[in-house]
Amino acid sequence: MPVTITEYLRPDSLKEALALLAEDPGKNIAVAGGVSIVLSGAPRRVRAIDLQNVGLNEIASTKDELCLGAMATLDDIIHSPAATKVASGLLPTALRTAASEPIRRLITVGGNIVQCYYWATLPPLLLALDAKIHLRTSEHRRTLKATEFFAQPPMRLMEKGELVTDVTIPLKPSRRAAFEKMAKTSNDYALIHVVVSYVDQRGKMSDPRVVVAACTSLPTRVREAEEFLEGKTVDLNTAMEAGQIASHHVKLRGDFRASADYRRRVLRVMVQRALLKAADKQTIS
């Protein structure tokens, strides 16, 4: 038995779930897909509060933003016409590389970003898309920018009994983006993730985002590369230089999967490729 779950509750509303979590915050665990809860084998005895029926499963969009409920699964996003509208299909393309199809049916938005394993797929995407994370306890609500939410391991930032309720992503029609994953096999954990995005202003980049993850402990925006790209046109030279800058300005992790030096060399090329891909200029790699 992976976690010592002493009791399993399935509240029917968010209010009820928040009230249960507030009762004795240290003794409860919110269960979303349950994937990392099953795998982690937490030693302490906890009461499980399942979020399946509390009404956070929806994906909706307005003219201005896409809203992902915390209990929407990666598979729900992949098949959502609303989610496809973001940055020419970035979300489904990228999320198809996460785990396997059956597991993507379990992994939720909330679980993925709160757990935030360094190789998780959704966190760098949310950073590159300027997402906002909406949180709630039984007492109050707050909204954080993705940059704030991922500035430390999110679990450390969450208050006891606090839940992510949803994530919103602004819809900008002229946003272009691309995603690159490097892993040893097609559904292994990523060694490197790169997400780039920018608003296309007649061929020039405005508001560029260069996000790297999996090779860093937390998903990271590389401001130096973003500043370099602002106002530029994407061509091979620009993309190469941005790759160079990005690979030298992030603190890379080395572990049994790959050394930091190896990751630095590969990262440079991946940033370059992602930029050319976003601009549809993939003539050379």
Binding site: I5, V31, A48, D50, S100, R105
Partner: protein, 167 residues
Amino acid sequence: MKLHVRINGEARELEIAPGAVLGDVLRQLGLTGTKMGCREGHCGSCMVLVNGKPMNSCLLLAAKVEGAEITTIEGLGDVRNPHPIQEAFVEAGAVQCGFCTPGMIISTKALLDNEPHPSLERVREALSGNLCRCTGYAKIFDAVRIAEHKLAKASGNGKSTRRPHRP
């Protein structure tokens, strides 16, 4: 705690530990066709259908499937009365040690139920959570094609234009 589910068509009320995973619960009922290989979501030998969708029963808390319809490999068919997909795996020679086979067949069932004539790309994606350490997959993909033809014939509608990609 109590768990109410239908397993292979039969309504059951089970007493489970609140933290038990579905795969263990099924095996303790004697449904040992569902294998527990890696227990961490990599191999797919534990695949079962939950309301028709394939899921890794090693990752799924049993308490999460309250009210659901579970189908295991035993629910498809047996030696005397095999399911067309099971026949197809035998005919294609897609079984060597056989440890991955129940999971492969469950994933194939879910795929062909929803998409009677999938592209090879879709077959690969749908089986992406199932590892086989023996066959090298080619014969498994053949088996899926053979199953596709058998099922289309049985339902009398589909004329697939695709052949097994390795004749």
